[in-house]
């Protein structure tokens, strides 16, 4: 088992393996997303409180879930890269950040659009999840800004790794703080997912969307990391050999 991980850490092995895995991730992700979207949009019963507007849940929740998962992936990969000095791990962290930021933006945008018919405003400071998502977006921006501000790539890797790990400790604290803060206002229950009890017809598409988006995220991440690895190793012998073999084939 350890040999698998050892080999995975080697860039050329990862590059070849990811080329084979990517299509599977993408295909299975897309299929699940199509199922979830169609089932959620047309076959799930309408929520008795929110009507058809609740169907936004099928994109909003996966986006929010992925925005946090991407941060965890980023922080863990950065930590592995920092502690065990694995260059590939740093590449994964670098690749996960922009994806995470996009999904955070998507969560905020869909949350805001969902809020307009529900609350009457485009933004509701009283909703703890929206506010925590906003802070998460700032964390992503800080990470990417630090990376681009440091010229030396190795130093950029390691400095941003420290930042990612410090941020990871803070993310649950931020969530807790914002929840406490918004509960002080005793506002109405905001986005109640699905209504009083989430029925199966509502739940399955949601699960499908979450898993599907996770798989798609995996494919997108692999794609970014491949580009990142190729760039970092552009002068390496294995790259040269691979490209020459490719052009000759």
């Amino acid at each position: 088992m350890w040999t698998f991980f050892h080999k995975l850490a080697s860039p050329p092995h990862f590059y070849r393996l990811s080329a084979r895995m990517m299509p599977w991730f993408a295909a299975s992700g897309i299929i699940l997303i199509l199922y979830g979207a169609v089932a959620g949009l047309f076959f799930a019963p309408a929520d008795y409180q929110q009507g058809d507007a609740f169907r936004i849940i099928y994109v909003h929740v996966p986006a929010a879930y992925l925005s946090m998962m991407a941060y965890m992936v980023m922080a863990i990969a950065a930590g592995i890269g920092l502690i065990w000095r694995m260059k590939l791990a740093h590449a994964v962290a670098a690749g996960a950040a922009p994806l995470g930021a996009w999904f955070t933006f998507l969560a905020l945008a869909t949350g805001s659009i969902w809020g307009r018919p529900m609350w009457g405003t485009w933004w509701e400071w009283g909703d703890p999840r929206l506010t925590s998502e906003l802070i998460l977006l700032f964390l992503y921006f800080g990470y990417m800004a630090l990376r681009s501000a440091i010229d030396d790539p190795a130093r950029a890797d390691r400095a941003s790794a420290v930042l990612a790990m410090v941020g990871a400790v803070n993310v649950p604290i931020i969530h807790f703080s914002v929840e406490w803060w918004s509960s002080l206002h005793q506002g109405p229950t905001i986005i109640r997912e699905g209504g009083p009890a989430i029925v199966a017809e509502m739940l399955y598409p949601l699960v499908g969307m979450i898993v599907g988006f996770s798989l798609l995220f995996g494919a997108l991440l692999l794609s970014r990391v491949r580009a990142e690895v190729l760039y970092r190793e552009r002068r390496a012998k294995w790259v040269r050999e691979m490209i020459e073999a490719g052009t000759r084939a």
Binding site: A37, A63, W102, T110, L220, R226, R240, I243
Partner: protein, 52 residues
């Protein structure tokens, strides 16, 4: 059929969310593959320069 699509007056909101999601996913995949292709062709170019 149109009624189904209208989503009970919330159609604009629901569909704009789904469209936004589709756009973000497309942008991410296009970004990734373009970067990959750019790095790849850059390496090829440098190799050709070295050979010549």
């Amino acid at each position: 059929m149109i009624e189904k699509l209208a989503m009970g007056n919330y159609g604009l909101y629901v569909w704009s969310c789904y469209a936004l999601t589709l756009i973000v996913v497309l942008v991410c995949s296009v970004q990734a593959s373009r970067r990959h292709r750019a790095v790849y062709s850059d390496i090829m170019r440098r190799l050709k320069l070295k050979e010549s």
